[in-house]
């Protein structure tokens, strides 16, 4: 019988009450008395030299408080990059300056040139139109390979060229990998594009800066997944404000998907301007601004080669990827194509030799950084596509080829530097096959054919590294941050509990799931537990939410703090019960003496902690509040098998998803309903990438997809009813909850399933020369491929 509370139950999300009734408190809902509004004048050219920015007329416009330009930020820090990659020659990456407002040059459409602060938003916009900007157009670089050619225009004049780094992984393995290819019985090669995406959270970015003159304290309210990280980066590197004088609040946040991890110029500007003007300054992005200023995702161009022996065992894998950084290095951009991508190239397979080469390139486009999955979708896509192609070339069943090469013994050290602690890839594949009725496919295909349609079935596996991350390891890899998590469990006098977590919920359901864990540990009702997050003045230093890390790392910190609480509470209970601490048991919210009927309720113990009249003051302090910082010893490795069945209209090229099944192994599951919802969302984004989405630039660096008129967002009717299962559970071996993380899986695992299915349909229809189509598989693109 399903549980009705604690771990494994599916209570409805308590936060949804306020979200669904319009009572959320988002950053744009925060209005501070006396606030002014800022509008950013953004570049409409991709690359140009700023000859002059004349703000005199604008400054005289009605309502204008002050106009800022790049000159106001000269001598100050720029936006920092949080990860330094070392290239294959042992040299550190080229790292350009990233000023808050453009200085000297503009480098992408949307690059902020000036900022007008005025009494109203419309006045700020009016005045921005009165700014005279003289920009000398420079030729733009958009295509990555063209950007690396000799003589290409340089995005940053002070760098050697447009190459951020040329990374080889593992460089020492390259000769052995090349040798394995020379000896291979079969080599399958595939060139593909993992296209640029725009994250498009429902809530656009917003920042409100506030300054208290009497205390010299600054506060930034912002749409962030990690307010402490913003406080550290902005305070230490951009504005020079010590952390005890800077508070960052990320209240309700309407979706992040990675793009709200990063520290943005607008945040620093609003904080800075509030100090300069001694009044609050607010910015709310329009959707148009979001398209040209939110960090984009993906944008890899890859050649992948898979070597097999005569028995179809994978013997080696070799990839060459061009990864677009855009015009500047966004906060974690360098890590995405390297450590979040190269380390996953083994996938679910025991390929003994792997070499990954990544060239990161500057172009005159919006910066690119982590987007749901971040590096792992790119790794999964190329690997699962090339395996499918290999199966076709060899005339073997694609599922059997995968099974034959599955890793089956754990722990397993891959040749790309990570160690999978546990997993069972055959179990998820078996479960998937139970879900999809593969045997009935031929009959369904026949039925489609009668209606003039083509049907295809695509299957693939995925693995990801989540629970980011062991700090000492990532430090060695170039991270300029630790990746632990924190939690304070504050037990109140009457027994209720307030948990301050460094994780940040922006749709994940922490306010519901985290209390389930505490309720399970203490045997109390979940309604007695409240989760506080997103405010550096309330929560201990935490690293935030991304990389499917909240429960695995943040939850583990909460478990550790709760264990400390239990230990102390047992001491108090032992005193109250006049028993030995070793004999105290905690069950169903009461402490009892083992083997007796003597017990004391949870609330009596907590009250004693704060009203210590009868209390072992000589042994322990009053109060019941504990903090823990948890640093994981390894990543977690969720994995699974996905299947997609599509129907294709050969007359129009339109692909419709008929069914989609996902069998995931997330280890232990706290709230199955929330996990299903996370998978649904991930699948929608992955299918969106496969069929619809794609940010496109023209050769001059103009963004062609700057609105929903041209950027195809997936909608509900693009999706089938998903079939998801997470009953295959190999618990993580190294965190206390045995959980692995579920937030990104759907987005990682689904694109290859869709593309495999479409190629399958075309192959079955006799289009044997079609071995690949680049995403998005839009009707026009599929039709064009079908018609040569």
């Amino acid at each position: 019988m399903p549980k009705d509370h604690g771990i494994g139950a599916s209570p409805k999300r308590r936060e949804d009450v306020r979200f669904l009734t319009g009572n959320g408190n988002y950053t744009d809902d925060i209005n501070i008395h006396g606030q002014a509004y800022v509008h950013f004048l953004r570049s409409d050219v991709a690359h140009g030299r700023i000859n002059k920015v004349d703000t005199e007329a604008a400054a005289a416009m009605p309502g204008v408080v002050r106009v800022f330009t790049g000159a106001d930020f000269e001598g100050m820090g720029g936006l920092p990059c949080g990860w330094q990659v070392t290239d294959k020659h042992g040299e550190v990456m080229q790292e350009p300056a990233h000023p808050v407002l453009a200085q000297g040059k503009v480098r992408h459409v949307g690059d902020p040139i000036a900022a007008v602060v005025a009494e109203t938003y419309e006045q700020a916009r009016d005045a921005a139109e009165a700014i005279e900007v003289d920009i000398e157009d420079l030729p733009a670089v958009v295509d990555m390979k063209a950007a690396l050619q000799d003589g290409a225009p340089k995005v940053h004049d002070d760098l050697k060229n447009n190459l951020c780094y040329d990374w080889g992984f593992v460089e020492e393995n390259k000769p052995a990998v090349d040798e394995a290819f020379d000896k291979a019985a079969h080599v399958t090669t595939l060139e593909l594009v993992n296209q640029r995406l725009v994250a498009n959270p429902m809530e656009p970015r917003v920042a409100v800066g506030d300054y208290n003159r009497s205390t010299d304290d600054s506060t930034l309210y912002t749409t962030s997944q990690n307010p402490h990280v913003i406080r550290l980066l902005m305070g230490a590197f951009v504005l020079g404000i010590p952390e005890h004088k800077l508070r960052v609040v990320a209240p309700d946040v309407g979706g992040g998907f990675g793009t709200k991890i990063f520290h943005y110029a607008e945040e620093a500007f609003c904080t800075y301007a509030a100090r300069q003007l001694a009044r609050p300054v607010k910015w709310t992005a329009s959707r148009s601004e979001a398209f040209m200023s939110d960090a984009h995702g993906r944008d890899h161009v890859t050649k992948i080669e898979l070597a097999l022996d005569a028995d179809n065992n994978f013997t080696a894998l070799r990839t060459e990827t061009y990864a677009n950084m855009g015009a500047y290095l966004s906060t974690f951009a360098p890590s995405v194509p390297t450590w979040l991508h190269g380390t996953l190239m083994a996938g679910n397979y025991k390929t003994p030799l792997i070499y990954v080469n990544v060239k990161a390139v500057f172009t005159n486009t919006v910066p690119v950084d982590a987007y749901r999955g971040a590096g792992r979708p790119e790794a999964t896509y190329q690997l699962e596509r090339v395996i499918d192609k290999a199966a076709r070339e060899l005339g073997v069943d694609p599922i059997e080829l995968r099974r034959q090469n599955f890793i089956t013994e754990f722990p397993y050290a891959t040749p790309v530097a990570v160690e999978y602690d546990t997993g069972d890839y055959n179990a998820t594949m078996d479960k998937l096959l139970e879900m999809i009725d593969r045997d009935g496919f031929e009959a369904r295909a026949e039925e489609s054919k009668k209606r003039g349609k083509l049907r295809g079935l695509g299957v693939n596996c995925y693995i990801e590294a989540c629970g980011i991350a062991p700090s000492n390891l990532v430090g060695q890899l170039g991270a300029r941050a630790g990746l632990y998590e924190s939690a304070t469990v504050r037990v109140n006098a009457t027994g209720g509990i307030t948990v301050m977590t460094g994780s940040h919920s922006h749709g994940q359901g922490h306010e519901t799931a985290f209390p389930q864990v505490i309720a399970e540990m203490l045997g109390i009702d979940e309604s007695m537990v409240e989760i506080v997050h997103g405010d550096t003045s309330k929560v201990p230093m935490g690293m935030g939410t991304y990389g499917s890390r909240s429960l695995a790392v943040g939850g583990s910190a909460m478990v550790r703090a709760t264990e400390k609480v239990i230990n102390k509470a047992k001491k108090i209970a032992a005193h109250l019960l006049e028993a030995s601490e070793a004999d105290i048991e905690l069950k169903d919210g009461a402490f009892s003496v083992a083997g007796t009927d003597k017990s004391v309720a949870w609330g009596d113990v907590t009250l004693a902690a704060y009203v210590p009249h009868n209390y072992p003051l000589e042994d322990i302090e009053p109060g019941l509040e504990e903090t823990a910082f948890y640093d994981p010893s390894n990543f977690t490795y969720p994995a699974g098998a996905y299947a997609c069945e599509i129907e294709l209209d050969p007359e129009t090229g339109k692909v419709t998803i008929e069914s989609f099944a996902a069998a995931d192994d997330f280890g232990n599951v706290v709230n199955p309903m929330i996990v299903s919802g996370q998978v649904h969302g991930g699948l929608a984004q992955g299918i969106g990438q496969a069929l619809l989405e794609g940010a496109a630039y023209d050769e001059n660096g103009q963004l062609l997809t700057g609105s929903y008129m041209d950027y195809a967002m997936p909608r509900a009717d693009d999706m089938p009813f998903f079939e998801v299962d997470h009953s295959c559970q190999t618990p993580c071996t190294h965190n206390p909850l045995g959980v692995k993380g579920c937030g990104e899986a759907g987005a990682i695992g689904s694109p290859p399933a869709v593309v495999n299915a479409v190629v399958d349909a075309l192959q079955r229809a006799g289009k044997t020369d079609v071995t690949h189509i680049d995403m998005p598989l839009s009707p026009s693109r599929v039709w064009a491929v079908m018609n040569g």
């Binding site: 419309e122 148009s288 339109k654 619809l692 929903y708 008129m709 950027y711 195809a712 009707p779």
Partner: protein
């Protein structure tokens, strides 16, 4: 948006008078104009809302049998009330999403003449009459290219009269992002012949595919279109499809419209 004055007259005469001011602009449901204003791409001195004019609202049947739609009638009302012309009601029911259909009006759509809008195809294929505040314009004379019509400055579409064909259907292939028509084809079979109007495809806006009309007038079947094609020259080519793709879709959608109508 820039500041502007706003009027909401109760009669056509008052609306015409209000629109005589320099840079005054008529406002239907605002589904194109309001986003344009928000992007500061237009700067009217005054907006004259036509939604308060009761004589421009609703669907009725004319003495000649035509289905008459008031110029300020929202798409949702046409979808619900134009049952006498099912293909027209179905077209209206497929425009945009519910929010668009509850605000957007037929007069606004025809006055804007977006090359990817649905209504121009219905009007042209039906040989509709566009009635304005001071004249009647045949659909064949009304559409004059992308975003261009026979309307004069300040002239208001007060009513659209659709002769009801024996058989008709509209088939739209949606642009994946905007869900406007990448190609939309309206086929209408009258006693005296067939009319085929195509939207979404051409750089010249909505057009009649006369070759198909001739073939279908002799044999109203999809097979009658076998071997016919429209040239890719002059078709819109963009991120969402080449000119050749759109030209191909014109044939596919015409066949499907004929099959749906038959």
């Amino acid at each position: 948006m820039y500041a502007f004055d706003f009027e909401k007259p109760g009669s056509i005469a008052d609306a015409v008078a209000a629109l005589k001011d320099e840079d005054a602009q008529a406002l239907g449901g605002g589904q194109t104009l309001i986003p344009t204003l928000k992007q500061r791409l237009a700067m009217p001195s005054k907006l004259v809302s036509l939604t308060g004019i009761s004589e421009m609202q609703g669907v009725c049947r004319g003495d000649d049998g035509a289905v008459c739609v008031g110029g300020a009638t929202p798409h949702a009302v046409v979808a619900a009330e134009a049952g006498d012309y099912p293909a027209l009601a179905a077209l209206a029911a497929g425009i945009g999403d519910p929010a668009v259909r509850n605000r957007g009006t037929i007069g606004g759509s025809l006055a804007n003449n977006d090359p990817a809008a649905c209504y121009p195809a219905a009007a042209l294929a039906s040989a509709a009459t566009i009635v304005t505040d001071h004249r009647e314009i045949a659909a064949d004379d009304y559409f004059q290219g992308m975003f261009t019509t026979a309307l004069d400055e300040g002239e208001i579409v007060t009513e659209v009269r659709f002769p009801v064909p024996e058989k008709a259907a509209y088939m739209k292939f949606e642009q994946p992002a905007s869900r406007f028509a990448l190609v939309g084809v309206f086929v209408a079979k009258f006693a005296d012949g067939v009319r085929v109007a195509v939207t979404g495809a051409s750089e010249e806006g909505v057009f009649r595919w006369t070759e198909a009309e001739q073939a279908l007038s002799g044999d109203f079947s999809a097979a009658a279109l076998d071997g016919l094609s429209v040239p890719a020259d002059g078709m819109i080519g963009d991120l969402h499809g080449s000119g050749a793709y759109r030209a191909h879709l014109v044939v596919v959608m015409t066949k499907r419209a004929v099959e749906a109508a038959a």
